[in-house]
């Protein structure tokens, strides 16, 4: 307890003996769990199992016996129980193959660090092979989480308290409500207080006192927790016999009003969510297409191997992670430049080796690059096997940013939206502000004149193609976080990429940006009512019709370049 948190200060102020409180809760819990059990099982009360026996009973194969052992652990009131329960639910509880001792094992550099779950004594390092894991099932996981939640209501960490409240919310027994009421009195954190208020209001909705019920309904109308809405629905609904379940009309109306308010808010957040999904799909399309916007859009090369360059980028990420297994958190930062180089160099090799002999012959280029794409796929298949490779997701890209209980944005998608915009603007800057960009634009606008001005057009072609390919590689790094890294990765993106570039207007980077994002958003707004398959078809049909009307895309290239 070296650091001070609000929770701790709260303890210090209100309780002269802070350690009393957890014990108190454990005692309440003891009473409540034993009562709960008798109700649930209708079985004769089990003779209390001593703590050590309960720990040993966890090794049993039967999940029923294990569940009883967990109950016994909770009832034992032993301060070591919480650690053992947490280890059990996290999959860190093992027993030794030789002496059968139950231990908590934490990963360490050499093997695992073990602690005796029965005595709490540190046992030093062990090899995982000598330990056998204690397996639990979903029913036990629910039981454990509920038990742990009740024990962690007194935690110092507001996040732990919040998740404890939310866990208890799922199954509000009168005892649990009593527990929450005491917790509410001293709660300092606003978020936890709100959750507690919702929980107590849910409990009060079906109370005897009408005023309390109306107040509870009012409180719930401000809450977005699904449990809040679920408890209101029966109040406004009709039963099987066509009569309202709730006899009091005033309560019925209040409940119906509260549901309307909640649904209105949910509707709004769900639209926000869909828009985010659309943007995120759009940003994936943008990443996949932006390299093509250079090679196809600016240079006019129909590069069917574009998808495979993306795949190379993804495989580079995999190799980078293999090379730095202990620094997964940083691996993506290394993988971005590495993938750019690998895909870029392969791109330059393709341009110098094949494409430069085929300029001005689009059909031959198409066939040749299609051949290259097959060669690249088979090469990868030979080197890495046809099986998909597992690319790890760093911790900072996992999980989601919870805005409220109905709207949460996943971190990997958030980062990819930002990343795709960064790539886009970096590319724009290269084309607009650097010497290479100037040459690229000059060559694409008027090759003969550019050459006459002393630009080595051959080099510029190679570098431009390398730039487009390198960006495809960078896209591969991002895609490795979303989809499977396998030899076929590229194939699923090549059509989408061409679609975006053609739709946005060939040769126009801004067109690619707008095209990608709008296709993403349209697709996601269609999906809920059309289904994933039909939504994709509708988008394709829309593009076909659009191209009929505006063959040059959203933002057609203007000026002399168009003539060529």
């Amino acid at each position: 307890m070296g650091f001070t948190t609000t929770g701790q200060r709260r303890f210090a102020l209100n309780h002269p003996f802070p350690h009393f409180r957890p014990t108190l809760i454990v005692c309440t819990l003891l009473a409540l769990l034993s009562g709960h059990n008798a109700l649930a099982d209708d079985a004769p009360p089990v003779a209390p199992m001593p703590y050590a026996d309960a720990i040993a009973a966890l090794k049993d194969r039967s999940f029923d016996l294990k569940a009883q052992a967990v109950d016994a652990l909770v009832q034992s009131g032993n301060p070591l129980a919480l650690a053992a329960l947490k280890a059990l639910v996290d999959g860190d509880l093992y027993y030794a193959q030789d002496d059968g001792r139950v231990v908590i094992a934490k990963d360490a550099a050499g093997g695992v660090l073990t602690t005796d779950a029965g005595s709490g004594a540190a046992l030093g390092e062990a090899v995982k092979r000598d330990l056998k894991k204690i397996i639990i099932n979903n029913t036990m996981r629910n039981q454990l989480r509920a038990a742990i939640a009740r024990l962690s209501l007194a935690s110092d960490n507001p996040d732990a308290r919040l998740s404890a409240v939310l866990e208890i919310l799922k199954d509000l027994t009168p005892e649990a409500v009593a527990l929450l009421r005491t917790a509410r009195e001293d709660e300092q954190s606003r978020r936890v207080r709100e959750a507690l208020d919702t929980a107590l209001a849910i409990a009060d909705v079906n109370a005897d006192n009408k005023r309390a019920r109306l107040a509870a309904i009012d409180e719930l109308s401000a809450s977005l927790y699904p449990e809040a809405r679920n408890v209101l629905v029966p109040l406004a609904a009709k039963g099987a016999d066509g009569e309202f379940v709730e006899p009091d009309a005033e309560i019925r109306e209040a409940a119906a009003g509260a549901i309307r308010i909640i649904d209105g808010k949910r509707e709004f957040y769900s639209t926000v969510e869909t828009a985010f999904f659309g943007l995120s799909l759009g940003s994936v399309l943008l990443l996949a297409a932006i390299g093509l916007a250079i090679t196809f859009g600016v240079m006019g090369v129909i590069n069917m191997a574009h998808g495979e360059l993306i795949m190379l980028g993804a495989y580079t990420t995999y190799v980078v992670q293999l090379l730095m297994p202990h620094h997964i958190e940083w691996s993506l930062l290394v993988a971005v430049p590495a993938a750019f180089l690998v895909a870029g160099l392969v791109g330059i090799a393709i341009e110098r080796g094949v494409i430069r002999f085929l300029y001005g012959r689009p059909l031959e280029t198409l066939l040749a690059t299609f051949g290259i794409s097959l060669i690249l796929q088979q090469t990868v298949r030979t080197i890495f096997s046809p099986l998909n490779r597992s690319v790890e997701t760093p911790q900072w890209m996992s999980g989601s940013l919870e805005i409220n209980s109905v709207l949460s944005l996943t971190y990997n998608r958030l980062y990819i939206v930002l990343f795709s915009l960064m790539v886009f603007f970096a590319l724009l800057a290269i084309l607009k502000k650097t010497r290479l960009g100037l040459h690229v634009r000059a060559v694409s606008q008027n090759r003969a004149m550019a050459r006459a001005m002393g630009i080595r057009t051959g080099w510029v072609d190679a570098l431009t193609f390398g730039l487009g390919s390198g960006i495809a590689g960078v896209a591969g790094v991002a895609l490795s976080q979303l989809t499977n890294v396998g030899p076929n990765l590229g194939q699923s993106y090549i059509i989408d990429s061409f679609m975006v570039v053609v739709f946005g207007g060939v040769g126009n980077l801004w067109g690619t940006l707008v095209g990608a994002l709008s296709l993403g958003v349209v697709n996601k707004f269609l999906e809920p009512w059309a289904g994933a398959v039909l939504a994709k078809i509708l988008v394709l049909v829309f593009i076909i019709l659009f191209i009929q009307k505006k063959p040059r895309g959203l933002f057609p290239q203007k000026g002399r370049a168009v003539e060529h």
């Binding site: 999940f63 999959g91 894991k133 397996i135 099932n137 979903n138 029913t139 996981r141 629910n142 989480r145 699904p226 449990e227 679920n230 408890v231 769900s270 969510e273 869909t274 999904f277 995120s280 799909l281 994936v284 088979q378 298949r381 096997s385 046809p386 099986l387 998909n388 490779r389 597992s390 790890e392 997701t393 996992s398 999980g399 989601s400 949460s408 996943t410 971190y411 990997n412 998608r413 979303l482 989809t483 499977n484 396998g486 076929n488 699923s492 996601k524 999906e527 809920p528 289904g531 994933a532 398959v533 994709k536």
Partner: protein
């Protein structure tokens, strides 16, 4: 056609069948073949080694090669060595039919082990029936089929989907159901059966959500968000997933990222095994379920030996084993027993010898080949662990007999398959007492 023993007999048969000119050419060709070829029994392996299905099927090719290798070490079959003929249909469904024809007509294989997707099986079916070949199909499938020329060693819906749903309903108290699948024949038929089954159990229409996605779908955001919403009504909700192939990886990743945990909304999958999980970090997935007839983690002597042999054969101690591998293991060994029982590799004789054969499962107990060409096997339900393996949380008391024609679909309720005399039919209607006449 019986095994080739002498060049002359082979040439003779061909002369009768195809005329003197062809016989001359073939006779010439057979003289070039090594003399040893006549003393082997050829076994066809029809699994995709490239394309989208390579991820799953390559392993099965290796499994068959391993089994052949082991059998040859034991002295082969009927005193002859087995010889594998491996072809690559490249995840291309029409090519499956072409390659099957090549195996039976050109290579004269006695038996073929192959196919994964139902569409590939449907594509080779007419070829095997026309040329009277023998196919062992090792993957769980939608049922509604029984061909004289095919032995189905994977699970029928009543050996996987129905027990899994029963488990969710009874043990976990699930009241609301999401049926999510890839858009093709296996998930559509399975979901049709499940929907009929759930409704028969009194589940309301509003409590069933059905969703299909294309092959290789990678953007699961909206669907997972929908599942979350569907599951937030307070009734216990579960997802029954027939999502196939590598689309599962992004699906599970999205579940993990959006915080859908197994305790709130468990996902039970019928196409996710150890092989599929070896491509993902399974820590966020702990507790999600799968139903199979075999799990690598099952503790038994036979399984331990199988895993050891597999690792030795593939020279990689990290490779996993899975359910379709066990299906090939049982199928192959039953075929060996049948050939020895029949004393010949003739399709008709082996087909009759197969029925009623037993062979030990890797998970314990005996698999039985039934009259409808489906196996009786135990059904296991496992929860995903953080090491990519499954822990068995439930299993059927005894064996479950594979049912070719589902009892829950109106069209197939009265139909049975029975390949023994006197019925000898793949779709015999027990009401009208008639065989529809088709072969399947």
């Amino acid at each position: 056609m019986s095994v080739q023993t002498k060049h002359t007999s082979r040439a003779g048969m061909f002369a009768r069948a195809t005329g003197v000119v062809t016989a001359g050419v073939l006779g010439l060709a057979s003289m070039v073949l090594p003399a040893q070829a006549a003393d082997t029994i050829k076994v066809g392996v029809l699994h995709s080694l490239s394309g989208t299905m390579a991820i799953s099927e390559t392993t099965l090719k290796d499994t068959v090669l391993m089994l052949i290798d082991e059998q040859n070490k034991k002295g082969g079959v009927l005193g002859k060595k087995l010889e594998a003929v491996v072809v690559d249909p490249a995840s291309n469904w029409p090519l499956f039919a072409e390659k099957a024809r090549e195996l039976i007509q050109k290579d004269k294989v006695a038996v073929t082990f192959g196919c994964w997707t139902s569409v590939s099986r449907k594509s080779v079916l007419p070829v095997f029936e026309e040329l009277n070949g023998l196919l062992f199909y090792p993957v769980q499938y939608e049922g509604e089929e029984s061909s004289k020329n095919v032995f189905y060693t994977g699970a029928a819906p009543n050996q996987q989907a129905i027990p899994a749903v029963d488990y969710l309903m009874k043990d976990l108290g699930v009241k609301r159901w999401v049926l999510a699948g890839t858009d093709y024949v296996y998930p559509r038929t399975t979901n049709k059966i499940l929907e009929a089954y759930l409704k028969a159990k009194g589940v309301a229409d509003a409590d069933i959500m059905i969703n299909y996605t294309p092959f290789g779908h990678s953007d699961w955001q909206s669907i997972v968000a929908d599942i979350k919403k569907f599951g937030s009504t307070g009734k216990k909700t579960a997802v029954v997933s027939t999502i196939n192939g590598d689309a599962n990886v992004p699906f599970y990743k999205e579940l993990g990222n959006q915080g859908v945990s197994a305790e709130n909304i468990p996902v039970v999958a019928f196409s996710v095994g150890e092989e599929e999980l070896s491509g993902i970090d399974t820590r966020p997935l702990v507790g999600h379920l799968a139903a199979w007839n075999y799990f690598m983690s099952v503790d038994s002597k036979a399984n331990e030996k199988f895993i050891k042999d597999w690792h030795a054969y593939i020279k990689n101690p990290k490779r996993v084993t899975n359910d379709p591998m066990e299906a090939h293991y049982i199928g192959f060994n039953m075929w060996v027993k049948a050939v020895e029982k029949a004393g010949s590799t003739d399709t008709d004789k082996v087909e009759q010898a197969m029925i009623g054969l037993t062979f030990p499962n890797l998970t314990g107990g005996m698999a039985v080949m039934n009259k409808n060409h489906h196996l009786s096997k135990p059904v296991l339900i496992g929860e995903i662990q953080d090491n990519g393996q499954f822990a068995v949380v439930w299993e059927t008391k005894g064996l479950v007999e594979g049912d070719a024609w589902s009892d829950f679909l109106p069209g197939s309720k009265d139909i049975i398959a029975d390949w023994t005399a006197p019925i000898k039919c793949g779709n015999y209607n027990t009401k009208t007492k008639k065989c529809s006449g088709q072969n399947f």
